[in-house]
């Protein structure tokens, strides 16, 4: 009895050790250099804002004509919009929408690119040629017009459909480079050795190939997130996607359509969402550069 307890405790300790090790590794990757620290902080800030912000700064849609287009103040850090609603609280309320679109779009594209790219690279032959042709088509057709068409065909009113539409044009480039990486990996000695040793395909794919494209995938996940935000805000500006009025893109669109370009009093309405988008994008880009430095160390010349 005692022995089993002992063994159980040991197993628990091992588990905790493993988790700590994992967390430590994660920390090294995401806080590995100043760039990563900056990027991760920005990303974490927005995630926390998206998760808990709405509870701390609840947003009410009540219209108050007395508070129209107020300048920034302690009660309204970013001022108010044309209907007297607090812009800062709108932005806080919209954060989770923006993030979930970006996150979902990135997940979908990465998964699709990974599956098709690895399949193409591993199987080869006719299937490879066909997938390559598909990527070619998607890389050649101008993407924004097709977004527009799709957005017109399907009603886009939730993050899921939005992410699916945004995915369509972001997988192709990634798929190609995963494919070429897989092909070059396949030629490397260690994979040849695995083949000679008659290891199973599954083992080769999941234990040998996948980890080698891991860093590429992580970095591109972040880049697709950035592109998804650019794309989604663009679609909202064109007025083809009806969406949560608090989404940053929707705030921007609403400001633009209600004379914020002309009226200096409503500049805050226009620039607050722009600022948030720019800071978020900046953080994401710097993070991707930082991760690149950490995960793909090259011999750097002085």
């Amino acid at each position: 009895m005692n022995e089993r307890l002992q063994a159980g405790r040991q197993a628990l300790i091992n588990l905790v050790h493993k988790m700590l090790k994992f967390l430590n590794g994660l920390g090294k990757v995401f806080f590995g250099n100043p760039k990563s620290v900056f990027g991760t902080s920005v990303l974490l800030f927005f995630i926390i804002l998206g998760l808990f912000g709405p509870f701390i700064f609840p947003y009410s849609t009540d219209i108050s004509m007395l508070d129209q287009l107020l300048p920034p103040s302690w009660t309204h850090p970013f001022g108010t919009d044309l209907w007297g609603r607090d812009i800062f609280r709108q932005i806080v309320a919209g954060t989770s929408d923006v993030l979930s679109i970006a996150f979902l779009a990135a997940t979908f594209s990465v998964v699709l690119a990974l599956i098709l790219g690895m399949f193409s690279g591993i199987v080869g032959g006719f299937i490879d040629k066909f997938i390559l042709f598909l990527t070619n088509v998607f890389l050649t057709i101008p993407s924004l017009p097709v977004f527009l068409i799709l957005a017109a065909l399907f009603t886009v009113d939730n993050p899921l459909t939005f992410a699916l539409i945004l995915m369509i044009f972001s997988w192709a480039g990634m798929c190609r480079s995963i494919r070429s990486q897989i092909i070059s990996l396949k030629e490397r000695d260690f994979i040849q050795i695995c083949k000679v040793m008659k290891m199973s395909r599954g083992h080769i794919i999941f234990k040998e190939l996948l980890p080698n494209v891991g860093s590429y995938i992580l970095i591109n996940f972040i880049i697709v997130m950035k592109n998804a935000i650019t794309g989604s805000v663009g679609l909202m500006l064109l007025g083809v996607a009806s969406f949560e009025p608090t989404n940053w893109g929707a705030i921007l669109t609403s400001a633009k359509n209600n004379g914020a370009l002309i009226n200096p009093n409503s500049y805050m309405w226009l620039f607050a969402p722009i600022l948030c988008i720019a800071i978020f994008q900046l953080g994401v880009i710097v993070l991707s550069k930082g991760l690149d430095d950490t995960l793909n160390p090259r011999l750097r010349v002085m």
Binding site: L299, R300, V301, M302
Partner: protein, 328 residues
């Protein structure tokens, strides 16, 4: 003076961001006029770095930390490392030329063979009127391509990637002769070529050495080639010169265990394949060299002193051996 080049206490570092890699450490080496000197070592032993320092074209971020490279051309010696940019450019290829390892990547892929010959010729003959210089360049190119048994008409308008491996190598050899240099550096001139073409290339090189009297520095890891082709041999290991002497001295006396190992690890037509003894272990990591003699972990005659103290250069005439065994 029978040395064409003298390297004196040459030390070359690759200065990386966090540390420096010492690719060549305190090497003193003469290169004999009119002779073939072979520089032998495993890959990563610093032989290419050493050789490129003679032309001052060490790939970035390599830097000569100390020591000198002296070139004895016609009259007084020239310190290559002290030359200014334009003097250096005049010196390169005119006095010393080089056949780079992997000849395919040593030519500009978007220029034809002839255009590259002409370009180099013109740069070095600025004083000649342009039309006359172009005529000379063409004539010289045809002459040299014939010399290496290539058809000039066919080769000259070709792009580098259209040449086969053996053809490229011969083009590069012809290229190295363009300005009648006094010394040619050959970096692994026959790796990646098949045996028959190897033999063919060495026939051409022998003719260059004998008929044109051009000195050669041959970088190779092929002991068989050294035995057949070279007059002098220098053995490098981990950036250090282990042994230097005539081929006869080094091959017959086998005074350094590393040279001995290299010789015995080479298959030859005469010796039995069973007698082949590869050197155990792997080449040293130059970031982390062992204490004492850097070869001691792989040496089969390792003594206590070898682990503690680095051996000095022991000289017998011109024969140099860096080993504690040579003291006795």
């Amino acid at each position: 003076m029978d040395n064409i080049v003298e390297l004196n206490h040459l030390t070359i570092d690759y200065r990386l961001r966090k540390y420096a890699l010492r690719a060549v450490a305190d090497v003193t080496l003469p290169i004999k006029r009119g002779k073939v000197t072979a520089l032998v070592g495993e890959s990563g032993s610093g032989k290419t770095t050493l050789a490129t320092s003679i032309l001052e074209v060490i790939s970035t971020p390599g830097v000569v930390e100390s020591g000198t490279v002296l070139y004895y051309g016609n009259d007084k010696p020239v310190a290559v490392t002290k030359l200014r940019e334009h003097e250096l450019n005049a010196f390169r290829w005119r006095e010393v030329s080089m056949v780079f390892q992997g000849a395919q990547s040593a030519m500009n892929p978007i220029m034809t063979v002839y255009k590259q010959f002409e370009e180099t010729f013109l740069v070095h003959n600025r004083k000649t009127p342009r039309q006359a210089a172009i005529r000379q360049a063409k004539q010289k190119t045809i002459e040299l391509l014939n010399f290496v048994n290539l058809d000039p008409e066919r080769i000259m308008p070709m792009y580098p990637h259209e040449l086969s491996g053996g053809m490229k190598q011969r083009v590069m050899i012809a290229f190295s002769l363009l300005l009648d240099p006094k010394l040619i550096i050959l970096d692994e001139p026959t790796t990646a070529l098949d045996v028959i073409i190897q033999g063919y290339i060495f026939k051409i090189l022998k003719r260059i050495n004998v008929e044109l009297g051009i000195s050669m520095l041959l970088l190779t890891h092929d002991i068989g080639v050294v035995a057949e082709f070279a007059d002098y041999v220098a053995v490098m290991y981990g950036g250090k010169l282990m042994e230097y002497g005539t081929v006869r001295e080094v091959f017959k006396e086998k005074r350094h265990p590393y040279s001995k190992g290299l010789i015995e690890s080479t298959p030859s037509l005469l010796s039995d394949i069973d007698k082949m003894k590869p050197i155990k272990g792997s080449p040293p990591d130059i970031r982390n060299l062992p204490a004492g003699c850097i070869f001691h972990p792989r040496c089969d005659r390792c003594m206590e002193i070898c682990k503690l103290q680095e051996p000095e250069d022991h000289k017998l005439g011109e024969h140099l051996v860096k080993c504690h065994l040579a003291k006795q």
